[in-house]
């Protein structure tokens, strides 16, 4: 651990007022050092909103290296820290957070969490996904976002679902014409009937931008960075998605989920696919 990091962390630990804590967390977050992850995550639980905002921003900047610790945090009991951790996961867009975000967007009782998760579902790092897993992942995200757009009582969560759908529509491959038209149909419906003008405004923006561009075939999308995820990560993501889908399909079974099992084996055996 270098000297700068050590002194920045010490400043957080020794802060004895909420202003000092805020400043110390802001400074630590601004340094963007991977070694600060545990301290930033701890700051999510200090019941100091300013410090938590700064810590979330810092964690998002650090990105993927922060994800395992964030997911671990979600298993703890501090509710408010959980909410902040979900916000950070949404901001990072790491596929390991996908299933958590699906649950948070559709079922969390805090509107700020649903809001962050809905946007995060659109802005996943889709280009990292292996082809077959991409299909099920995007389908789950699409269903969750349509549900939130149709059902959520809070205008800002529906607004966020529109942002998520807008983003997802630009990310899905041209092969999925049906998904794209489902998104456009949902937007059209909201453009006419959502009772909130801000939501309608965001729908118009999404419609105008989506109609101005046509879907790009997935192969033409250039991955900005290669995926740092391991075959084991993908295996776990797939298992969780499969479980989620299985729960949903208990009542209305459709399709053959076994192919996802086969996919898991294929990925585990052939890590360079990931």
């Amino acid at each position: 651990m270098n000297a700068t990091l050590q002194s920045l962390i010490r400043a957080v630990e020794e802060a004895d007022s909420s202003t000092l804590l805020l400043e110390a967390v802001q400074n630590l977050a601004a340094a963007r050092l991977e070694g600060s992850v545990p301290t930033l995550i701890a700051a999510l639980g200090y019941n100091n909103p300013g410090a938590a905002v700064a810590a979330v921003d810092g964690l998002i900047q650090i990105g993927e290296p922060a994800v395992p610790a964030l997911l671990d945090q979600l298993d703890r009991h501090n509710y408010s820290a959980r909410a902040w951790a979900i916000r950070a996961l949404a901001g990072i867009g790491d596929p390991r957070g996908l299933v958590t975000l699906l649950g948070a967007a559709t079922a969390d009782f805090a509107l700020s969490v649903r809001r962050a998760a809905a946007r995060g579902l659109g802005a996943m790092k889709w280009h990292w996904f292996p082809d077959d897993l991409l299909e099920i992942a995007q389908e789950e995200a699409l269903e969750a976002l349509l549900f939130v757009a149709q059902q959520d009582e809070e205008w800002i969560v529906r607004y966020s679902a529109v942002v998520g759908l807008h983003c997802l529509a630009t990310a899905i491959s041209a092969n999925y014409v049906d998904w794209r038209s489902q998104i456009l149909a949902q937007l059209e419906q909201m453009a006419n009937s959502d009772d909130n003008w801000a939501v309608r405004g965001r729908v118009w923006m999404a419609q105008q931008q989506l109609l101005a561009t046509t879907a790009v075939p997935q192969t033409q999308l250039v991955a900005v960075q290669p995926s740092p995820l391991s075959a084991m990560d993908w295996h776990l993501i797939m298992e969780k998605l499969y479980e989620r889908r299985d729960q949903e399909r208990l009542v209305f079974p459709e399709g053959d989920p076994r192919r996802y099992r086969e996919l898991a084996v294929a990925i585990a055996q052939n890590p360079q696919n990931s």
Binding site: V53, L111, R119, I156, V163, W197, G201, W204
Partner: protein, 275 residues
Amino acid sequence: MDNESGIQDDNQLTVEQAIANLQGEDLGLRVYAAWWLGRFRVDAQEAIDVLIKALEDEDDRTEVGGYPLRRNAARALGKLGDRRAVAPLMRALECSDFYVREAAAQSLEMLGDLSCIPILIELLNNHVPGTLPAPEPPQLAQPFDSILEALGTLGATDAIPYILPFLDHFLPRIKYAAARAMYQLASDPYEANKYGDRLIQELSNKDLQLRRAVLADLGAIGYLPAAEAIASTLAENSLKLIALKGLLEKQLQQTTPPNLSSGAIKVMTLMDELL
């Protein structure tokens, strides 16, 4: 409807029951019913009638002489949008209870009927006999912020000379309310922006509570030049989003749907980042 403890929850209360409770013996249930009718926007004729009657209630008094039922009835009537409430709310501005006057001024602002402007100006100048100061510090004579906001929303240009002195009031939130009203009332845009810019400066105030107050004011007037400053001030994203929603709605009113002004697109781009 009553359970054993005599407490009713929201799910059990019906419109008929709320109206009945408002005229019943139990003071607690009366106050709750008045709130409930506003909360669930029950604008039935009968609900309006009983709420107007409740503005003259004498049964429910606090230790220092306040009228809790009148306060809730005044608040509810603003939400229900029936102009029959205008004259009774104007009479409520003469109530000895500071908080009844505050609620009445806010509701008159919501109802948008210009006939209340003269008495609001009288109240701003503290010329209404029989009114008492707020019972707790800083013991203001009148709910100046609510009165100023109402005069601004109602477009009361006659009130300008009486509003100007409040721009330097010792209480920041009253100062903000005056700047907000002057923004709405100023005849030329250049002058209006001077008042809007005063509010933007307050987004750098060291006190979080005051930054929150000024966010609400900027959202209420939909002041577009404040967009970036709102997005970057130190406050909860939820409050920034609500303020930006005010800016966005103002922008949407200025174009024919689904056309979007460049201002609307700018505001939405900022909002997206705060989700």
